[in-house]
Symmetry: C2
Subunit: 150 residues, 2 copies
C-alpha cells in the first residue's frame, strides 16, 4: 500500500526494527506505546531485556542477514523498516533487501561511519548518523566560540 502522510492510522502501521540496542529498543518501546504493530529482530536474546514491560510487539531471535529471518518478520507487510544494528555493512545489506526485495516504502537506517551516509542515500535509504548529530550538537553548544564568524 502506498505510504501517505496522514492516510493511515498509526495503529494500522506495521514496523519492523532490526537491532534491539539502545536506539532500537527505545524506538520499539515508543512505537508500541503509540499503538503501532512492532516486530524487533536481534541475534542476541539478552538484548530483548531492554524492551519495556508495556511492549506489545513480537521479538524474533535471529540473524537478519538471512532471508528466512526477514521473511519470518513479514517484512513484505511492513510499512516501515528501522535498520539499527551496530554494523554499517549489516545495515546496508538489510536495508537493500527491505527496499529492493520486500519493497518496503520507508527504510530508515543508522550509519555509524559518516563516510557511509552517501552510500545509504544513493540507494534511497533514509539515514540517521548519531555521530553527525552529536557533532552538530556540540558545535551548537560551542557556537559562541565562533560567534565572530560570518
Amino acid at each position: 500500500m502506498p505510504f501517505m502522510k496522514g492516510a493511515i492510522k498509526k495503529d494500522e502501521y506495521y514496523v519492523v526494527i532490526f537491532g534491539c540496542g539502545r536506539l532500537g529498543s527505545r524506538m520499539a518501546n515508543w512505537l508500541s506505546s503509540i499503538g503501532c504493530s512492532v516486530v524487533v529482530v536481534d541475534r542476541n536474546e539478552s538484548s530483548f531485556d531492554a524492551l519495556s514491560y508495556e511492549f506489545t510487539g513480537f521479538n524474533i531471535l535471529g540473524d537478519a542477514t538471512e532471508l528466512d529471518v526477514l521473511k519470518e518478520a513479514k517484512l513484505d507487510k511492513a510499512d516501515v523498516a528501522l535498520v539499527l544494528t551496530t554494523d554499517d555493512n549489516t545495515n546496508l545489506m538489510i536495508s537493500m533487501s527491505a527496499k529492493e526485495f520486500f519493497e518496503v516504502t520507508r527504510v530508515v537506517a543508522r550509519a555509524y561511519d559518516t563516510n557511509n551516509i552517501k552510500m545509504f542515500s544513493d540507494f534511497g535509504i533514509e539515514v540517521i548518523c548519531p555521530t553527525l548529530l552529536a557533532v552538530e550538537n556540540v558545535k551548537n553548544a560551542l557556537y559562541f566560540i565562533s560567534g565572530d564568524e560570518k
Copy 2:
C-alpha cells in the same frame, strides 16, 4: 578567566579534547580549522590518524584518568574540555576532575547510556547523548505515524 559569550576571540580559546574517535577527531579538526588552540588526548596512538592534515593542535598519548596526563594537557588553562571517550565512567571521572580540580568553566561530555545523563547534569557537566539525539531524529522522521496524536 570568565567565559563570556563573545568576549574572547576564537583564536584565544584553548580546548582540550579527550577521546579521538569519530566524534572527538571531527571536533578537533573543526575547532582547529576555526582557529582554536586544540589538544587531543587518547590512549590509542592510531586514533590520531583521524586528525586531518590541516590540524594544527597537539596530541597527547596517554590515559586521561591519570592526573599527570591531565596536567600535561594543561587542563588548568583550558577554556573548554570536551570529554568524548567511549566509556561513560571514564568520561565522568575526567569531567569531574576538569570541573572540580582544574576549574574548567565549560565541560561538555558524551554519555552513551541515557540513564547516565542525569548523573552528569547533577555535577554541572553539559551532556551530549548521541543515542537520545538519534531517537529524537528517528521520531521526527516518523512523525506522521503519530500525526493524528494530540
